[in-house]
Symmetry: C2
Subunit: 225 residues, 2 copies
DNA sequence: CTACAATATGAGTAAATACTCATATTGTAG
DNA sequence: CTACAATATGAGTATTTACTCATATTGTAG
């Protein structure tokens, strides 16, 4: 259809149907916009560069989108609504259903490993989403309602299920547990990117095992022995 | 000295000696810059507005700082080096020393509560520091070496001490523990600001107690009973 | 008080860039 | 093929804004 070769191949490239009713031109513009935004951030990106990368004239951009901000929203909002959010929540849901009879530590390992892969692949986009959510309430709302809340609900459902099975303490709020395990995993991701020399060398699966073990059994020496 | 009334009163306002060898004018400019940056972000801030807020002419700004970026660095770097970093690490160090004989859960509670206060007070500044660290390696380096690493070291020292006393498991890396408790606390802070309707109502101290309890004793029902 | 240096001023400049519009191209119906 | 509509083009515009510089003010030494 198009002989345009994308400069930056995103993991979701080709999922054109995520964006409803987009013409070929519009799709090219949005793909180019995302490329440029992830490379230099929104503010430092220029419409002329987006046009260049998209292979269209600058005027064409403004035939399809009224303002530069509209390009930002048209790029990121459908991505969150149709890809990042559902992708996160559904795969979580599937994993939990699929491994219903597996020990909780194994499921947590699988879930965290899976999330890790997703987030790593999406990181360039998530980074700009998070940064710009600070300045554009429209993005903030979608991020909250279509990504964060979805992930949260899936996780809470899983923990509640395991709690009702008697595998998790019921004197603690599942919210507390969710925040802690998500926070622990997130801290590990951040640490890996901040201190590659320390964390990259370690065996990833072993580290995840330790995180899950710590979450389930606690840091304290059991004095009851 | 100056009859200029700051629009936004930062918690550290007045700590002029944090910035070595600053004239009154330079101090006014940097204070104004921080105010404007925290309100609109770096990109959306203009040198003319900084000048207006500082109560000086725009030309004066460029007599003291060559570029807008230099204003950013001159504002945030000393703040991290002399205030945020030491403030975080020292108070942690002090708390740990001071309460050497207290049970670990009490110390953790105190430390997290203390961190919570600090971060809440500094949040407007931290937010812009974190965002701009994404685009300016100079900021990233200082943030890493003068804030993150300092906090890390203090925390690791504390955990190691408690581990050697036999209060914490020694089959787990202190790094794993540090990441988990820091991540759990961070996730709670984030959650509080994202979902005020849910988290603000809860009693803060009780929630912190639950977080520490979960960290120390784990989420799993103890099957040994 | 005077002479001179240091500093401050703000109107002005040059460059960047979001956005426009008259013209050109492409697609399509009869 | 023709006529017309839809879309694309890119040179051009208006505005914003980081930065400059000739002039004015302030501070100071003799």
């Amino acid at each position: 259809m198009s002989d345009h070769v994308p400069i930056f191949q995103h993991s979701w490239t080709g999922d054109e149907q995520l964006y409803e009713e987009l013409t070929d031109k519009q799709w090219k513009i949005l793909k180019a916009a995302l490329t440029v935004f992830t490379e230099k951030g929104y503010s430092a990106s220029t419409t002329s560069e987006i046009a260049r990368v998209a292979g269209v004239a600058e005027g064409t951009i403004f035939r399809h989108f009224k303002t530069k901000k509209e390009i930002l929203l048209a790029t990121l909002i459908p991505l969150m609504q149709n890809f990042i959010g559902p992708g996160a929540a559904n795969s979580l849901h599937d994993l939990v259903l699929q491994y219903d009879n597996l020990p909780i530590e194994d499921v947590l390992m699988l879930v965290i490993e899976d999330r890790q892969k997703h987030i790593t692949a999406l990181w360039p986009v998530l980074r700009i989403v998070i940064i710009e959510a600070n300045f554009h309430p429209e993005l903030r709302d979608v991020l909250l309602n279509n990504v964060v809340k979805k992930v949260q609900e899936s996780f809470l459902a899983f923990l509640k299920q395991r709690q009702s099975k008697g595998e998790l303490r019921d004197d603690l709020d599942v919210w507390t547990m969710m925040r802690t395990i998500v926070g622990a995993a997130a801290a590990y991701f951040v640490s890996r990117s901040l201190f590659p020399e320390r964390e990259q060398d370690h065996d990833n699966r072993q580290e995840l095992k330790a995180i899950v073990d710590l979450f389930l059994r606690g840091a304290q020496v059991d004095v009851r022995y």
